[in-house]
Structures are given as C-alpha cells and as structure tokens.
C-alpha cells in the first residue's frame, strides 16, 4: 500500500506543476499592465530554485514517490539547471513584452509565456525523474509541446510562424521515431519499467533492441540537434523570438541530454560499450558540422544556433565515460553552458532592442559601451573554451569523461575543432572590438535589471571556472 502523502523532496516538482496555473489564473483578475503575475513568477521560480538546493544529494537510486517518480542526485542537479535556465529565460523575455526587438513587434501575454516556460521546465523534471517509458515519454512531450507554442509566440511575426511550423513538423516526426523506438524497446523487454528493461538488456540483445536504440537516438538526436537532425535548429533559432531561442538552446537541450543520460546510464547501461561507436560518431560529426556551419554567419541568432549545435556535439563526448564522471561533466557543463549562453543572449538582446541582431550592429561596441563589449567577449571566450573562463573547465570535464574510456582520437578531434570554434567566436569579438562603426550608432539603453543580470552572469562565467566549488560539489554529490 503506497502512501499518497507528499514527501518534501518532491515539493519543488509539485510547486512547479501548480504554479503556472496560479500565474495564468492571477492574470485573469488583473489588468494587462499589472506587474503582479511577473512578480509572482519571479518569487515562484526563485523559491523553487532554493527549495531544490535544500534537497540533500542522495546517493545511489535516490528516493521514490509511488515507485515511479524518482528523485536522485542527477535529477536534483538537473532540476537546478532547468530552473536556472527558466529563471534567466524569464528575465530575458521581460523586455520583449515592453518593446519589440530585431524589427519585430513586442509580444503579449507574458503570464502565459512564463507558464509555457514553466511547463517546459516541468517536462524536464519529469524526464529526469521517470522510472518507466511512459512517464519518460510524457515528460519529453511536456517539455516539447510548450516549445512549439513559444516559438510561435509572436503572432505578428511571419518568421515566427514559419519557424514554428518547421519546428513542429519535424518535432512530431522525431516524436514518431522515438515512439517507434519505445515500442520496440517495450517489445524487446516486455515491460515499460526501467529496471526490468535493464535486466532484459543485460540478459541478451536482439535486433529489436538495436532498432529501438537506433530510433531512440535518431528521435532524441532531433531535440539535441545532432547531425543530421539539426537542420531545423538554425531556422527556428533565427525565426523564434530571442528569449525563446535562448530557452530552446538551453532548456530543450538540457532535457534532451538528460533523456540520453537517463537512458544510457539506466536501462541501456549494459550495452553502453556497444553503443560507444555510435555515440562517438554522432558527437564527432555533430561538433564538426556545427563548427563548420557557424564559420560564415552574419545573423547573431543563427550563429548561436550553429554554435549550440557544436556544443551538443561536445556534450555527447561525455556520454562515452563512466556514469559518475559523465554525469558530473554533463551537469557542470550544462550549468556553465547555460550561464555563458544566456550572457550572450542578454547582450544580443540589448543590441537587438535598438538595432538588427547582426554582426554589423555589433560594430564599435567596445568604443560605445566597453563593459557590454567585455561581457560579450567573456561569454564568447567561455563558449570557445578559453581558460580561465568556465567554458574551458566545462569542456575539460567533458573531454576527461570521454578520454577516461580511451577515446583519445575523438577527444583529439574535438579539441582540434576548438580551433575552428575559436575562429568564429573571434569573428564575433572582432566585430565588437575591432571594426569601426559605420555611420551613426543608436545609443544603447540598459535597464537596471539587464545591467545587474549581465554583471552577475559575467562574474559567474569567470568564477565558476577556476573557483572549483561547483564542480567539486557536483562530483561530491555523485561520489558519496
């Protein structure tokens, strides 16, 4: 007899589940100009983030709620990543409801917007705490469907709708692939529950299993923008509103990689070594293609799309390592990636509010607003993986995990690709630091919140690297 009393360790999940309804509900009773939903959202997200930090990192299997809602260390840390992403995405989006950006009109219904973000985040929560295929699938869908809506949020923008169309069409196909994979997995193991699947996989393999693996990887490869399933990403990233792009590039990636981690180190762990070639290939090709694509971009969001494709490839490298190392590496990297990425997007956002979001409009930034240029440089160097910024340490974790099972060739290839990556990040820095502005520059206005967030993120990017508390704590979480 299971008890339905809500244990405190799923309090955040429950809160996150009911809280979007609250926000949207309040909006029904207040005027459109009212700040109440916004404040509520802030309070709620921050509260949830802090609640998560109170959950002790349990070792091993973690704690269960009605036997298929698992809260383990990976889950908790992943939740924190997702919450950080959601919080930053919300802060980033605020200005886009006040005035438009990048020649797009301002957006509306901030409450619903935040609600959608919250739902997507909750989808992520579900994925990391799933113990059977059904919950797993539902989580993935909950995480994805709001994204479709978000991509099309700006109804007056034709690019938005086109992007959303592409996104949802391909997304549904990917879902179909996944589902197909799931079905074969189910057929192979005869059960939906991870433990039994794991047992079945351990007992022996069959073509069914491998078809399932293939389809699963292809399906998730879409959400993780692996080669060749990344094709939607540049268009959608460019078409969607900037804050949505940011959320897409972090939250949905985080969810997808969490999905893979849960699979690879859960049910499929017995055949991880057999999957290694596939993973290695996916990783190598993806980061190569992503880097190549970003070489000659001129629009910032599309550029970020390719860079995030490459980042996905780098993350995949970690999946080759043993569980603890890989999980630490991925979580740490996701933190770092989220911070650096959002820093970049905040800067782009400020540019975008006054000019087009292109390399052109970055020109003369260092003369006009040095601190902004510095923030941009910091985030770019961090994404390029230059020490002592956090990005380098993140990549180092990933490569360490990959190399720990002896995939030196892949690591060498990935590291070599860093040179290409550095090249295009330098292109962007050049635009901001070296190029002379052509003609008159529209003055840049920073709101107090933007300035604070940018400073905060810059400091985080600098410190998360060589100040080892984050990495060490995460690792300690997995070790004890």
């Amino acid at each position: 007899m299971t008890n339905f009393a809500i244990p405190n360790f799923i309090l955040p999940d429950v809160l996150l589940l009911i809280f979007p309804f609250v926000v949207i509900g309040i909006r029904l009773f207040v005027t459109t100009q009212s700040k109440v939903p916004w404040r509520m959202a802030n309070i709620g997200f921050i509260a949830i983030f802090f609640l998560l930090n109170f959950i002790p990192l349990a070792s091993g299997n973690g704690k269960f709620f009605i036997c298929n809602w698992k809260v383990d260390d990976f889950g908790v840390l992943m939740r924190e990543v997702l919450m950080v992403s959601a919080l930053l995405g919300m802060w980033l989006s605020k200005d886009y409801f006040e005035h438009g950006a990048d020649k797009k009109p301002p957006m509306h219904q901030i409450a619903e917007f935040i609600g959608a973000i919250a739902f997507a985040t909750f989808g992520g929560f579900t994925v990391v705490s799933a113990c059977d295929l059904l919950t797993f699938f539902l989580g993935l869908e909950i995480a994805t469907i709001p994204m479709y809506a978000l991509a099309a949020w700006n109804k007056r923008d034709q690019y938005g709708s086109e992007a959303a169309t592409k996104y949802i069409l391909m997304g549904s196909v990917a879902t179909a692939f996944e589902l197909f994979g799931f079905s074969y997995l189910y057929g192979f193991s005869g059960s939906l529950h991870f433990n039994e699947i794991q047992a079945a996989v351990a007992s022996g393999s069959s073509p069914l299993l491998w078809i399932a693996v293939l389809f699963l990887f292809c399906g998730i490869g879409f959400k993780l923008t692996l080669f060749p399933f990344y094709t939607w990403a540049p268009d959608v990233y460019e078409g969607a509103p900037t804050p949505v792009t940011a959320v897409l590039s972090v939250t949905s990636k985080a969810t997808a990689i969490a999905f893979l981690v849960v699979l690879v180190y859960g049910p499929l762990s017995p055949i991880q070594d057999k999957m290694a070639p596939l993973i290695a290939l996916l990783a190598g090709v993806t980061l190569f293609v992503g880097n190549l694509g970003a070489l000659k971009q001129s629009r910032l969001r599309r550029f970020m799309a390719y860079s995030s494709i490459a980042q996905a490839g780098y993350i995949m490298v970690a999946l080759l390592g043993p569980a603890t190392t890989a999980k630490t590496a991925i979580i740490y990297y996701l933190f770092v990636y989220a911070v650096s990425n959002y820093l970049a997007f905040f800067v782009f956002g400020i540019i975008g509010h006054h000019r087009e979001e292109t390399f052109q409009s970055l020109r003369g930034l260092s003369k006009q607003n040095p601190s902004l240029a510095i923030a941009l440089a910091i985030s770019m160097f961090s994404l390029a993986g230059i020490p002592p910024l956090a990005g380098f340490f993140g990549k180092f974790h990933l490569f360490f995990s990959g190399a720990s099972t002896g995939h030196y060739a892949l690591v060498a290839f990935a590291v070599l690709n860093n040179v290409i990556a550095l090249f295009y990040y330098l292109q962007l820095i050049k635009a901001a630091w070296v190029d002379e502005p052509d003609g008159h520059l529209t003055p840049l206005r920073l709101t107090k919140r933007q300035r604070e967030v940018i400073i905060l993120l810059s400091i985080a990017v600098i410190l998360l690297g060589f100040v080892p508390f984050l990495s060490n704590n995460i690792f300690a979480g997995f070790m004890n």
Binding site: A174, V213, C218, L278, L281, G293, I420
Partner: protein
C-alpha cells in the same frame, strides 16, 4: 714595487676603464677631457706593460710560459672549462709592449687628428675598447678566451671603420670588414668546437703538447663522413687558421682591408696595420706546435701567405691613394709573416727560424707601418685628400715628417741598419732554409717590389713640384700633437732591429714540440747582400721613374693611357666587383630569395589552402541549410539510415 700579477690586471684594466669612462660619462660633451684621459690611461698601460716586460726578460725564468691569473668563465663538461686568464711568455709580452705602445702613440696623435671632430669622445672610447680587446686577445690562455677577444677586436674595428657613419662608403666598408671577418670567424668557431670536442680542452698548453698518435684509433662522426680523430684535428687546425686567414686579410679575403681605409687614419694605423691584422699571424704563432703536428696545415699557411705577399705588392705598385698603397703593403708584409710561419716545416722536421723571424717581423713592422700611416694621416690632414695627384713637394714644408718617412721607408724596404732589414732578412732566410725555393724567390722579388712602391709613394708625395694649391700657397704646417708620435715612432723604426735581435734570438722559440727540430742550420751569409742589392736596384728604378730630373710625373700618375694589364692591376684584379657580384647575386638574389619564396609561397600557401578548404566545407553545410522543409524532413530519414549503416550497431 708592484708585483707582476697586479701589473697584469692593470694592463688590461686601464684601457677598459678608459672605455667605460669615456663611453658613459665623458663622451662627446667634453671631448678634450676624454682625450687627455685616454692618453694618460694608455700611457699608464704602456708603462705597466714595459715594467712587466722588463721583469720578465730580466728574470732568468724568461723563455718559459707563466700564467699570471686564470679565472673560470663558464664551466662546461669535465676539463672543458672556458677561462679568462693572462698568459705570459716572450710572444705575449712582446705583443703587450707593442700594442700598448702603439695605442699610446695613436692616442696622442688622435688629439691632433680628431681636434675638429665633434664625436671625438666616442672615438677615444672605442679606441680604448679596441686596445683592451687586443690586449685580452694577446694574453689569452685558451682558445675560448682568444675567440671572445677576437670577436671584440672585430667589432671595435667595425665601429671604428664606420666611425663617420654619415659617409656611406665608410658604412659599407665597415659592414664588409665585419662580415668578411665574421665569415672567417664562423669557421674559427667551428674549429674551436671541433678541436675542443676531440681534445676535451681549450687550453693552449694542452693543444701545443698534443701528438696525433693518440687519436688515430678513435673515430668521429662529422655527419657526412666518419674520420679518425687525428684527421679531425688536422681539419680543426685548418678551420682555426681560417679565422686568422680572414682577420689577417689573406687572399682571397683580403678585400676588406683596403676598403677599411675609409676609417679615420689613426684607426687604420693601429688596427689595420700594426696590431689587429697581425692577430691572425699571432694565432698561428701561438698555436705553432699544434699546427706543426697537423702536417698539411703549415704548407697551406705558407702558400696562402706567399701568394698574398706577391699579389698585394703588385697591386700596391699602381695605386694612387696613399692609404690604399699602405694597406696593400700591409697585406704584403702580413704575407711575409704568414709564410715565414708556414715555411718552418721541412718534410717531417721543423726549423724554428721562420717562427722567430715572423714574430720579429710583427714587432718591427708594427713600428714602421704605424708611423707610415700616421705620416699619411698628417699629409691627408694637411692636403685634405688621399690622392697622390694632389701631393708632391711636401718635403720642404714638412721637414721632420720627411725625415721620419725616410726612416720608416728604408725600414720597410729592408735597408740595413733599419729595423725592417733584420726581420725581413730572417724571413727570407727561413724560406731558403726550408728549401721552399719558389717562395724564396717570390720573397726576394717582393722585397724589391716593396722598395719600389714605397719609394714611389715617397717621391711622389715629398719630391717634385707641388701639385696642390694648399701646398703651393704654403698653408702646410706640422701639427705638434701629430708630429710628436711620428717622431717617437721613428726611433724604434730605426733601432728596434739591431736592438731587439739578440732578445729574439735568445728567447723566441715556439716551445717544445712533439716532432723533431733541426737545431743547426747553415746560415747563408750571402743572402743579406742579395736582398739589399735588389732593394737598391728597386730604389734606383723608383727614383728614375718618379724623382729624377727626367721623370714624367704627370704621365706616371694618370692611369688612362696604360696597357690592359696595368688597368687590371690598377683595379685590384677586380676583386671588389667579384665580391659584390657573389654577395648580391648569390647570397641576396640566390639563397635568400629562394628561402623567402619557399616561406612565402609554400608554407603560407599550405596554410591558406587549409583555411580555404575549411571555409569551403562550411559553405557546404550552409548550402544544405536552404530552408526547404522537405529536404529537412529528408535528412531525418537519411539520418536513420546513415546511423543504421555507420553506427556499427550489431544489427
């Protein structure tokens, strides 16, 4: 009374202090003070050297070597230690005296010569730097120290030749001098490295007491060939001699010396006649036992010396620039010294006459050649040009100078009892005793030539009618500061021969050697008369051509209506042109251009190609991103098949 070690330090320190003080503090602001200071310090250095020499030769310790001090500079492996020390033996003491004395004289002279020059301070500083380096070279106890000061001498010569750096000719001459000697020095360094590797030691004492037998069994890998270490030593000795080859401007590396005359005349007199250029000879003399055991080395040295002797003398007969004439005569005299050293080898035995003679000639030559240069300098100072065209008739105006010139010229022509006679006579004798009769003949012939061109210079400059307005107008006078050293130098030019001969014959032997020596040798008494006879004949010819009542000076001086052979000689056999051709075409136009092309096109090209290729791949990716939805959907399907086949799944 100061003990000898302190003296040794003092000799080196005085010039160094002068250099530092003049270079850093006095400088050009108070050139006067700088000059005075330099003169005093060099005088003191000379005094110290003289005292040291007196102590040494008067002591019964005399002919042996002594090491006053020897400080470790850099320790290499085992015995291979670079030291800075002071070696005292007859040779080095003699050189100490000569160098300090000459530099003392030249410093005095320079007071007058550089009076109008605003950079005189720098001049005196560099002059002292030179004498310091030269002294260091002279007293070197080992090859490494020798090389150190060898380079310093070279660089101070470079700086002094290019002293008037606004004159392009001076600048290029200095560059040429430095690079040519540097070229030779690179071989010298290689020789040092090779020999020190084989022997495991830098010290002269070790090198001079080697015997090749120990090394015939071991082999050394020189990259392309593997040879016994004994042959490696022979090779090393030749490489080391190459250093001297360049420094003493032996043919074909001689061309820098005449061009170096672009420098101020005092510089020419001290560096390019009296001291630095004999460094090469000194090197060979210092390492004589070593060269003696390396069998072919001495023969090479002899032929190089002999050829340079004749070659330079021939050219000197046609030149009109007095400094160049003197330069070529210096070359020819160096040739004498060089071949005298080489001529010591008779089959497998050695007769040390040549060694003594050569060192003796270094000694005497220093005085008269230095004074000749100083005289040339004062003539130029008065007349304002180097050209014999513009001179003539100076004899009446400059009585004292005239007399000193005559002394020096008689000395260089080897007319007894002047100093040159004794040393040159011994050299020719050495050639005769060595049974190198060809060289012997050349030497006699050259001594005739020497007399001829020196008197040609003498007559054209001092006799006949004045060909220069200044002289006609009688502006010419004798500057005291400049004439004093000339006068002083005339004394040793006259007397150093018979005065010093006993010392040389008593003390000057190259030291014990590992191969047999002939002690008793027949002293050809008839030889001096032959030599003097030839000299007198040459003198008469010169007189007939240039000073006799029926001489056509004007016709003698213009080279236009002359035979082709004369033109060739007049243009120094076109060696400068060849040099420039080689440097321009081969070094700059050849290797350097190819190297740069290789770098700029091959390496950079590969780089550019890589970048281009990566960008092309990028374009490929972007080309796929055409925004065409069905294509995107297609990639999903293709992806599945792709990973089905390349994912290495056990399907």
């Amino acid at each position: 009374m100061i003990d000898d070690i302190t003296l040794g330090y003092l000799i080196l320190l005085f010039p160094l202090i002068t250099f530092v003080v003049n270079g850093l503090f006095l400088g050009n602001k108070c050139a006067k003070a700088a000059a005075i200071f330099a003169v005093i310090c060099n005088g003191l250095a000379f005094a110290a050297a003289g005292t040291l020499a007196f102590h040494y030769f008067s002591s019964d310790f005399a002919p042996q070597k002594a090491i006053l001090f020897d400080h470790t500079f850099i320790p290499f492996i085992g015995d291979l230690v670079a030291r800075i020390g002071m070696l005292v033996d007859p040779l080095s003491v003699m050189m100490l005296v000569v160098v300090t004395f000459i530099s003392f004289m030249v410093n005095i002279y320079s007071i007058g010569y550089m009076r109008e020059d605003r950079a005189a301070g720098r001049f005196f500083a560099l002059l002292s730097l030179f004498s310091f380096s030269m002294l260091g070279l002279v007293v070197a106890t080992n090859l490494f120290q020798m090389f150190i000061f060898w380079e310093l001498v070279g660089v101070s010569s470079y700086l002094l030749i290019g002293f008037w750096y606004h004159k392009p000719s001076a600048v290029s001459a200095s560059k040429q001098a430095f690079i040519l000697t540097r070229f030779a020095d690179s071989f010298f360094l290689l020789g040092i490295v090779l020999v020190s590797y084989v022997v495991g030691n830098f010290d002269f004492s070790t090198l001079n007491s080697l015997s090749l037998i120990d090394f015939q069994k071991q082999f050394i890998n020189l990259g392309l060939v593997t040879i016994p270490k004994s042959e490696a030593l022979v090779l090393g000795s030749i490489l080391i001699f190459t250093g001297g080859w360049g420094k003493s401007a032996m043919f074909p590396m001689h061309i820098w010396l005449p061009n170096a005359m672009e420098g101020p005349t005092p510089v020419s007199s001290i560096i390019h006649s009296a001291t630095m250029v004999v460094a090469g000879v000194y090197l060979v003399a210092r390492l004589f036992p070593f060269f003696a055991i390396c069998d072919n080395a001495l023969t090479l040295i002899m032929w190089v010396g002999a050829f340079t002797m004749v070659f330079a003398a021939v050219i000197a007969c046609t030149q009109k620039d007095i400094k160049r004439i003197l330069a070529y005569s210096t070359l020819s005299q160096l040739g004498y010294m060089m071949f005298a050293l080489g001529a010591c080898k008779i089959g497998q035995v050695v007769a040390v006459t040549g060694w003594t003679a050569s060192t003796f000639h270094i000694f005497t030559h220093a005085f008269f050649k230095c004074s000749l240069f100083l005289i040339a300098g004062s003539l130029i100072h008065q007349v304002g040009t180097n050209d014999l065209d513009a001179m003539g008739g100076l004899g009446k105006k400059m009585k004292l100078t005239y007399a000193c010139t005559l002394i020096s010229i008689l000395a260089i022509s080897g007319i007894p009892p002047f100093s040159g006679f004794f040393s040159k006579d011994e050299i020719i004798l050495a050639a005769f005793q060595g049974q190198h009769y060809v060289v012997f003949g050349l030497a006699l012939f050259t001594s005739g030539l020497t007399t001829f061109y020196m008197f040609r210079l003498f007559f054209l400059a001092f006799h006949g009618a004045p060909r220069h307005e200044g002289v006609k107008a009688g502006h010419v006078h004798e500057d005291f500061a400049m004439t004093l050293p000339i006068a002083i130098l005339a004394i040793p030019a006259l007397a150093s021969g018979f005065a010093a001969q006993p010392i040389f014959e008593k003390f000057f032997v190259p030291g014990q050697m590992n191969i047999p020596q002939l002690v008793r040798l027949d002293h050809a008494e008839w030889l001096p008369f032959v030599a003097v006879g030839i000299a007198v004949v040459a003198l008469v010819i010169a007189w007939v051509l240039y000073a006799s009542p029926w001489a056509k000076v004007g016709r003698a001086l213009d080279e236009t209506n002359r035979s082709g052979i004369y033109k060739v000689i007049y243009h120094k056999f076109y060696f400068d042109e060849m040099y420039y051709a080689v440097v321009r075409q081969f070094i700059f136009g050849g290797i350097a251009r190819v190297a740069r092309a290789f770098n700029d096109y091959v390496i950079e090209g590969l780089l550019a190609f890589t970048v281009w290729f990566v960008h092309k791949l990028g374009d490929l990716v972007r080309f796929a991103q055409a925004g065409y939805l069905p294509f995107y959907l297609g990639t999903l399907i293709v992806g599945v098949l792709l990973w089905r086949f390349f994912g290495q799944l056990p399907l």
